[in-house]
C-alpha cells in the first residue's frame, strides 16, 4: 500500500496494456490442467503449495487500469459503438468469460459490475446499459442452466432451511453466527460458530464471525467504515482533473464497494452464496495484497486532488 502510494498513479496508465496482457496470460494458464490448482471446486489458483495466488484477483485490477486508460482516451467517442465502446466491451467480455470458466461467479460478478460502473460513469449511452441488462439476464439464466450447483445456491438463498445439510448449510451456519450476536455480541474471540461449524470462518465468512463476536454495534461499525471508504474514494475521484485518475480511483473504489457489498450480502443471507472475500478483513494473501495495493493507488491519486 505504501509502495503503491509513493508511485505516481499515472504510471498505471502507461503499463495498463501490459498489465492486462499479463492478466490474460495468467488466466489462460490457470485453466491448463497441472498449472492451475483446484480448490473448492474452482480451478482458480496458480503457484506452488502455499505460494499461490488467484490470477482473477490480478485481472480485476488490471481491467480497472485498462478501462480507466482506454475510456479516458475515448472520451470524445464514448457515445459511438464501434469507435468507442467496442474494444473495451470485447476485453471485458473475454476476461469475464475466462473467469467464468474456472468457474468463479463471485469474482466475475465483482469484475463485471466494476466494469459497468466505469462504463456508466465514463458516459456510455443509457440504451447501451439496457442492452447489457437484457443480455445479462439471458446470460445469467444460461449460466445457471449450465451448472446445476448455481441453481442450488439460488434455491438455498430463497429458503435455506429446505436443505439444511446441503445447499442451505452455509447460509444457515452463517445466520447461526450472526443471529446470536444480538446487540453487543459474545465478545472478542468468543465466537462459537468458528469452531468447525461455519466453513471458511476466516475468509469468506469473516463478517459472520465478526458480528457474532461484536454484535449489531460492531457489524454496523464495519458497514459504516466501508461506506466511509467508498465516500472518500468517490470524493477523491471527483476532485481530480485528470480523467484517467478519476476513472481509476472511481473504478477501484467501486470494486471495493461491490465486493464488500456482495460479501456482506451473502453473509447476512441477502444475496445467494458466492465465494467473494471481504476486502481488508478476509484472510488470504492475494486478496489482501491486491486490496492494499488498490488503496495505495487511490492514496497516490489523492495527492493530485484540487
Amino acid at each position: 500500500m505504501i509502495i503503491c502510494s509513493r508511485f505516481d498513479y499515472r504510471v498505471w496508465k502507461q503499463y495498463s496494456r501490459q498489465a492486462l496482457i499479463l492478466a490474460f496470460v495468467l488466466l489462460i494458464a490457470v485453466l491448463i490442467p497441472g498449472v492451475g490448482m483446484i480448490r473448492n471446486g474452482s480451478q482458480s489458483w496458480i503457484g506452488v503449495g502455499s505460494l499461490s495466488f488467484q490470477p482473477s484477483e490480478w485481472m480485476k485490477m488490471a481491467l480497472v487500469f485498462y478501462l480507466a486508460a482506454a475510456l479516458s482516451e475515448r472520451k470524445k467517442t464514448i457515445h459511438l459503438f464501434w469507435k468507442g465502446l467496442f474494444l473495451p466491451i470485447v476485453v471485458i467480455g473475454a476476461a469475464f468469460g475466462l473467469i467464468m470458466l474456472q468457474p468463479d461467479l463471485g469474482t466475475a460478478a465483482v469484475m463485471g459490475g466494476t466494469a459497468l460502473i466505469l462504463l456508466f460513469s465514463a458516459g456510455a449511452p443509457i440504451h447501451f446499459f439496457v442492452t447489457i441488462g437484457a443480455s445479462a439476464i439471458t446470460g445469467l439464466v444460461l449460466l445457471i442452466l449450465s451448472a446445476p450447483y448455481r441453481m442450488k445456491r439460488i434455491t438455498a438463498y430463497l429458503d435455506p432451511w429446505s436443505d439444511p445439510l446441503g445447499s442451505g448449510f452455509q447460509i444457515i451456519q452463517s445466520l447461526y453466527a450472526v443471529g446470536p450476536g444480538g446487540l453487543f455480541g459474545h465478545g472478542y474471540g468468543e465466537s462459537r460458530q468458528k469452531y468447525y461449524y461455519l466453513p471458511e470462518p476466516q475468509t469468506d465468512f469473516i463478517f459472520a464471525i465478526w458480528s457474532e463476536e461484536t454484535g449489531f454495534i460492531g457489524a454496523v461499525w464495519i458497514i459504516l467504515l466501508f461506506f466511509l471508504l467508498i465516500w472518500r474514494g468517490v470524493y477523491i475521484a471527483m476532485r481530480l482533473d485528470d480523467p484517467f485518475g478519476m476513472l481509476l480511483v472511481f473504478g477501484l473504489t467501486g470494486m471495493i464497494c461491490l465486493q464488500s457489498f456482495i460479501n456482506l450480502g451473502v453473509v447476512t443471507g441477502l444475496l445467494p452464496v458466492t465465494g467473494v472475500t471481504l476486502p481488508f478483513l478476509s484472510y488470504g494473501g492475494s486478496s489482501l495484497t491486491m486490496t492494499l495495493a488498490l488503496a495505495g493507488i487511490v492514496l497516490s491519486a489523492s495527492r493530485h486532488m484540487r
Partner: protein, 630 residues
C-alpha cells in the same frame, strides 16, 4: 462524469443501508430464534430425569419410592474408536456388541441406550464410569420402588420403561407425579469436543409432587390379610374389598384379587392389572341392594319397621310372575324389621310396590347407581339399570331385592355410606393431598365432595338401626363383633353369563358399617365363586368383614361400646359368658366363681392382683381365665 459518479454513490448508500437493516433484522429481531436453533446445534444435552413424586399413605408411610437406576448415554461424535468402545461396554452391560456399535456410529448427536443400558444397578453404573470411555456418559435416572409389591397394586398402578404412569394412580396423576425433565447441557464444536469458553449448563429437573393417599397402610394390611385367608380357604375366582370413610368418601383400603407385582407387571395377564375389580366389575348386587329399597321406603314413610307386619308364604306373585323367597318355606309372620333381618324377598317386593317403580328407580339413581361415582381411578364401570320406560312392576319388584340391576362395588359403598352417614352421597376419592418435595409444603388438599343429600338424617338413623339388627339377629350374624356396633347386609347374587344364570356360581358379598350410632367406616367384601362352601353371603363374606371390623376399628380409634344390640344365639353359635371381675377376691372366694369359666391360678398369695381377659369381655362358656395372686 461527476454527476453519474454521484448517482452511483447514492446507489451504494442505499445498498449499504439495506445491509444495516438486514443485519439488524437478523441480530435484533430474529436473534432469539436463531440463538435457540444455534444452541440446539452446539448443545449436546444429557437429560437429567426428575425424581417422580413419592406416594404415601394417609399417615405418611411410603407406599411407592424411587430407586437410583442410572442410564448410559453415548455421544457418537466423541467416540474415537467405536469398535473398541462397543466391545468394552458390551462386556460390562451384558449387551450385544453389535447393538452398541450401531448406536455409537449412528449419525445422531446423543443416543440413550435402551434395555440393558437403561436403569442400571449402582455397581454396573460404576463399572461403566470406570471404563473411562470417551463419549460414554452415565446419566441420572431412577425407577419406581413398589415397597408393597402386590398389595394395593391396582390402586397404585405402575410405570413403564420411561417412568411414565401406565395404570392406577401412577397413570391418573402422571403429570403431577412426573415433574419436568432437566438436562446437563454441554456445548461442543462440530467435532464433538467441548467448546472453550462456554460453561456447561445444568438445568435442574423439577421433581414430581409427593402424593398422599387416603389409603391407610395398616387398614390395608388387615384387609389383605383377610383376603389372603379367604383365597386360601375358598379358592375363589376373584375377590374384592373396599373400606371407605362414609363421612368424606375417602377410600381407606381397597383390594382386588387376583393381584400382581407392579415391578413385573408385564409378566401378568393384562386382564389382571387392567381390571381393578372394586371399581370395574359390574354384577347383580343381590340382597345388599335391599338397603337402598329400605332407605327409600323409610324416607317416603311407606313403612314402620316395628309396628307393621308382613306374612311371607315363601313367594310372591307380581303381574303373573312368581318371585320366590330365598327361604323355600317362607319366613311366615314377621315385623318389617324382621323382614330386613331375614332378608326376606317378598317383604322387599312389598316395599318396592308400595314405592312404585318410578319412585324406586328415582331413589336408585339418586343413590348414584347407573353413573360413575367419579373416583380418581381409571376403568370405572357405571353399572346397568332399567331405563325408566322399560321398568315395569316386575322389574321394580326384582330390583327391590337386588336382582335385574348391575352395579359396581364402589357404587354400593358410596350408596350405603349415604344411607348410613345422615343421607349425603359423597364422591369417593383416593388422592388426599399434594406436597412439594423441596419445600415440604402441602400445596393441594382434596376436599370431600358432596354429590347430593339423598335421604334425611332421621331416615338414616332408622337404616342404621335396621342394619345393626341384621348383624345382631339376622342374616349378618357372622359379622358380629363384640363391643363394636356393626351393622350390615349380606348379598348373594347369581352370576349371569350369556343372558342366563349360572348354576352354583355366585358372588357372595357383605357390606357393613360400624359403629351403628356414628359410622366411621363402611367395608364391602365380595368373594366370587367360593369353593367348598355353601355360597351364601352370610356364611362366606360376613365373617370376613367381621374380622376386618374387629381389627380396623381400633386403628380408627373407635372405642368399644356396651350398649349394642345383643346377639341372638342360634344353635351353632358358641355360648358366650361375660368375664366377671375377679380382682381383689380372695383365694377362697375364687372357687365360687367357677360356674361358667375355668380359672387358672398363677403366683402365690391370697388376693387376685390381675386377671386376663379383663372384666366384661365375652368368652365361650368354659374358657380359661388366668388370674395372678399376690
Amino acid at each position: 462524469m461527476r454527476v453519474r459518479m454521484f448517482w452511483i454513490l447514492v446507489l451504494s448508500f442505499v445498498a449499504f443501508s439495506a445491509l444495516i437493516v438486514r443485519t439488524g433484522y437478523i441480530q435484533l429481531v430474529n436473534g432469539g430464534e436463531l440463538t435457540d436453533k444455534a444452541e440446539e446445534l452446539w448443545g449436546r444435552s444429557i437429560p437429567a430425569e426428575p425424581e417422580r413424586g413419592l406416594i404415601l399413605d394417609r399417615k405418611g408411610d411410603i407406599l411407592v419410592g424411587n430407586k437410583n437406576a442410572p442410564t448410559v448415554y453415548v455421544i457418537p461424535a466423541q467416540i474415537d474408536d467405536p469398535k473398541q468402545a462397543a466391545e468394552k461396554l458390551a462386556a460390562v452391560l451384558g449387551e450385544k456388541e453389535s447393538v452398541l456399535y450401531e448406536r455409537m456410529t449412528k449419525r445422531s448427536s446423543i443416543e440413550r441406550l435402551s434395555s440393558k443400558g437403561r436403569h442400571l444397578s449402582a455397581e454396573t453404573a460404576r463399572a461403566v464410569t470406570d471404563l473411562q470411555l470417551k463419549g460414554v456418559w452415565v446419566g441420572e435416572d431412577s425407577i419406581r420402588n413398589y415397597v408393597l409389591k402386590d398389595r394395593l397394586a391396582h390402586i397404585i398402578g405402575f410405570t413403564g420403561a420411561d417412568n411414565q404412569g401406565l395404570a392406577g394412580i401412577e397413570a391418573y396423576y402422571d403429570k403431577k407425579l412426573s415433574g419436568t425433565l432437566g438436562s446437563i447441557q454441554m456445548y461442543t464444536d462440530a467435532k464433538g469436543n467441548q467448546m472453550p469458553g462456554l460453561a456447561n449448563d445444568y438445568e435442574a429437573p423439577v421433581n414430581g409432587m409427593d402424593l398422599q393417599l387416603t389409603i391407610d397402610a395398616d387398614i390395608q394390611a388387615v384387609m389383605e390379610r383377610e383376603l389372603d385367608q379367604a383365597e386360601k380357604t375358598y379358592k375363589p375366582d376373584a375377590a374384592m374389598s373396599i373400606a371407605m370413610d362414609p363421612n368424606t368418601g375417602a377410600i381407606l383400603a381397597m383390594s382386588s384379587r387376583p393381584s400382581y407385582d407392579p415391578a413385573r407387571f408385564n409378566e401378568y395377564d393384562p386382564d389382571i392389572y387392567n381390571r381393578n375389580l372394586p371399581v370395574w366389575s359390574t354384577f347383580e348386587p343381590g340382597s345388599t341392594f335391599k338397603i337402598i329399597t329400605l332407605a327409600a321406603a323409610l324416607e317416603e314413610k311407606e313403612v314402620d319397621l316395628d309396628q307393621e307386619h308382613f306374612f311371607d308364604p315363601g313367594h310372591v306373585e307380581v303381574n303373573g310372575t312368581r318371585l320366590r323367597c330365598w327361604k323355600r318355606e317362607g319366613h311366615g309372620h314377621q315385623t318389617f324389621l324382621e323382614v330386613v333381618e331375614n332378608s326376606c324377598n317378598p317383604g322387599f317386593v312389598e316395599l318396592g310396590s308400595r314405592l312404585g317403580e318410578k319412585k324406586l328407580f328415582t331413589y336408585i339413581r339418586k343413590f348414584g347407581f347407573g353413573e360413575k361415582t367419579g373416583i380418581d381411578l381409571y376403568g370405572e364401570g357405571s353399572g346397568i339399570l332399567f331405563t325408566e320406560q322399560s321398568a315395569g312392576p316386575v322389574e321394580a319388584a326384582t330390583a327391590a331385592f337386588g336382582q335385574g340391576v348391575a352395579v359396581t362395588p364402589i357404587q354400593q359403598v358410596a350408596a350405603v355410606s349415604a344411607a348410613v352417614n345422615g343421607g349425603i352421597l359423597y364422591e369417593p376419592f383416593v388422592a388426599k393431598s399434594w406436597t412439594n418435595p423441596v419445600t415440604g409444603k402441602t400445596e393441594a388438599v382434596h376436599k370431600p365432595k358432596k354429590v347430593r343429600q339423598v335421604i334425611s338424617e332421621e331416615t338414616s338413623k332408622e337404616v342404621r338401626r335396621a342394619l345393626e339388627s341384621v348383624v345382631a339377629k339376622g342374616t349378618g350374624r357372622n359379622a358380629f363383633v363384640d363391643g363394636y356396633r356393626v351393622g350390615g347386609k349380606t348379598g348373594t347374587a347369581q352370576k349371569a353369563k350369556d343372558g342366563r344364570y349360572l348354576e352354583n356360581n355366585h358372588i357372595v358379598s357383605f357390606i357393613g358399617t360400624a359403629p351403628a350410632n356414628d359410622p366411621k367406616v363402611v367395608i364391602y367384601t365380595a368373594i366370587d365363586n367360593p369353593k367348598g362352601t355353601v355360597q351364601f353371603g352370610g356364611t362366606v363374606a360376613a365373617p370376613i368383614v367381621g374380622k376386618m371390623m374387629e381389627d380396623i376399628l381400633p386403628l380408627l380409634h373407635v372405642p368399644k361400646q356396651m350398649n349394642q344390640i345383643e346377639k341372638e344365639k342360634t344353635w351353632n353359635d358358641p355360648d358366650l359368658v361375660s368375664v366377671p371381675n375377679l380382682i381383689g377376691l380372695s383365694k377362697e372366694k375364687l372357687k365360687e366363681q367357677l360356674i361358667n369359666i375355668d380359672i387358672v391360678i398363677e403366683g402365690t398369695g391370697n388376693t387376685v392382683a390381675s386377671q386376663s381377659p379383663k372384666q366384661g369381655v365375652k368368652v365361650e362358656r368354659g374358657s380359661k381365665v388366668r388370674v395372678f395372686l399376690k
